[in-house]
């Protein structure tokens, strides 16, 4: 891939159909991951176990929403349509988020009897940020210069996100029996979905061969999770089986369509209008 020249503008990218297709695919994956997991984060506002953490968590959620917006703007430049329209107004099957991002926070909804699971949230956020670090590091080496530049900026800011959840992982493991039980249970559930993150979907070959991403993320991600399991005293990720639906090919869990429906409830009143 080193032989392939850098692609520096959206116009150049659009001139190469295969490259363009692979690039758009990866951008949707990354943007949708951040958008959808940030939506889960936004549901937590005001419900977090500790006031100070409510504030800190919200900044991460805002940053993730900002990252999603920046990625949709790259897609906009590539001719995919207006950024908000991409965020709010696609069919569920057009979303490329990993199934892990869309899982509910727990039982109930944020409007009615939320029984949200903080252990699951900590573990999911941690595993996602661990993965996102690897994806951003790879994106920095992307052949598509605008993406490499953006990834570099996001990476520096994402440092806090991973660090924040590392602290929570450390604080909730190895403390009380109950916390250990809850964290182990959450870890097991998150691990079952973890392969959905590093999957690049049906376009994987093209994404890698075109140099949109320089390397596959699966191996480094599995390695990172093995290390995590060791440092937090959690079960090692033995099996690596893709969940039945992983999201990357547009097939999603039943949680996603109502989530999108809810998200766009107001947008639909005046699509593309000013709000």
């Amino acid at each position: 891939m080193t032989a392939l020249p850098r692609v520096t503008t959206a116009d150049q990218a659009r001139a190469d159909a295969g490259f363009h297709r692979a690039l758009v695919e990866l951008l949707y994956q990354a943007a949708d991951d951040d958008l959808i997991l940030a939506q889960r984060g936004a549901e937590w506002l005001g419900l977090v176990p500790h006031i100070e953490e409510d504030v800190a968590f919200s900044s991460i959620t805002q940053d993730m929403t900002g990252h999603a917006l920046a990625l949709y703007q790259l897609l906009e430049e590539l001719g995919e349509g207006q950024a908000d329209h991409l965020a709010y107004f696609r069919e569920p099957s057009a979303y490329r988020c990993a199934v892990l991002a869309e899982r509910p926070n727990g039982e109930g909804t944020y409007l009615d009897s939320p029984r949200f699971d903080w252990a699951y949230t900590v573990v999911r956020q941690y595993v996602y940020q661990r993965f996102k670090r690897l994806r951003l590091e790879a994106m920095v080496k992307s052949r598509y210069q605008p993406l490499a530049d953006l990834a570099e900026k996001m990476l520096r800011e994402q440092f806090y996100h991973l660090y924040h959840w590392e602290v929570w992982m450390k604080q909730l493991t190895g403390r009380t029996e109950e916390a250990q039980r809850r964290m182990t249970e959450a870890w097991t559930r998150v691990l079952a979905d973890a392969p959905s993150l590093s999957s690049l979907g049906p376009g994987e070959q093209e994404i890698l061969s075109s140099g949109v991403l320089p390397w596959s993320l699966e191996k480094p991600f599995r390695q990172a999770l093995e290390e995590s399991a060791r440092s937090y005293g959690l079960p090692a990720p033995n099996a690596w089986t893709m969940p039945e639906v992983n999201g990357r090919d547009g097939r999603h869990s039943p949680a996603l369509p109502p989530m999108l429906e809810h998200m766009a409830e107001v947008y639909r009143i005046a699509p593309a209008g000013a709000w």
Partner: protein
């Protein structure tokens, strides 16, 4: 504390096993609601002694601060160097800044806030 005992303790502090004397950070506050400014440090056996000595060590001329504060240095937890990257902010956060909303005042002007109104002059 007698000078003799202080002497002994200070000597112990210089040997790792003793540890009775410790560095304290001194902060001064020049006025009532002013910031607490970090001064220098004193070696003291406890906070009370640190306070009692701090003033004349660092403020022995004219200045009379409103208040003084000491904190045992090892009670201060700093972000280690390898984590200081966490303080970096690269993406715009202008959505929460006042200058990003300059158009709001402009729109009120266009809407001619006060004209034809029975109200007093609007204030901002």
């Amino acid at each position: 504390m007698s000078e003799e005992r202080a002497q002994t303790a200070a000597t112990t502090a210089s040997t790792p096993a003793g540890g009775a004397f410790e560095p304290y950070l001194v902060f001064k506050q020049m006025e009532h609601r002013g910031p607490m400014e970090s001064e220098y440090t004193v070696l003291a056996p406890n906070a009370e002694m640190a306070l009692a000595m701090a003033q004349e060590n660092f403020m022995r001329r004219q200045e009379a601060p409103y208040n003084l504060m000491v904190v045992r240095e090892r009670d201060i937890v700093r972000l280690p160097e390898e984590l200081r990257q966490a303080l970096v902010r690269t993406m715009p956060r202008d959505y929460r800044s006042v200058p990003a909303y300059a158009h709001v005042a402009r729109r009120w002007q266009e809407l001619k806030l006060a004209t034809g109104d029975d109200a007093p002059a609007p204030r901002r």
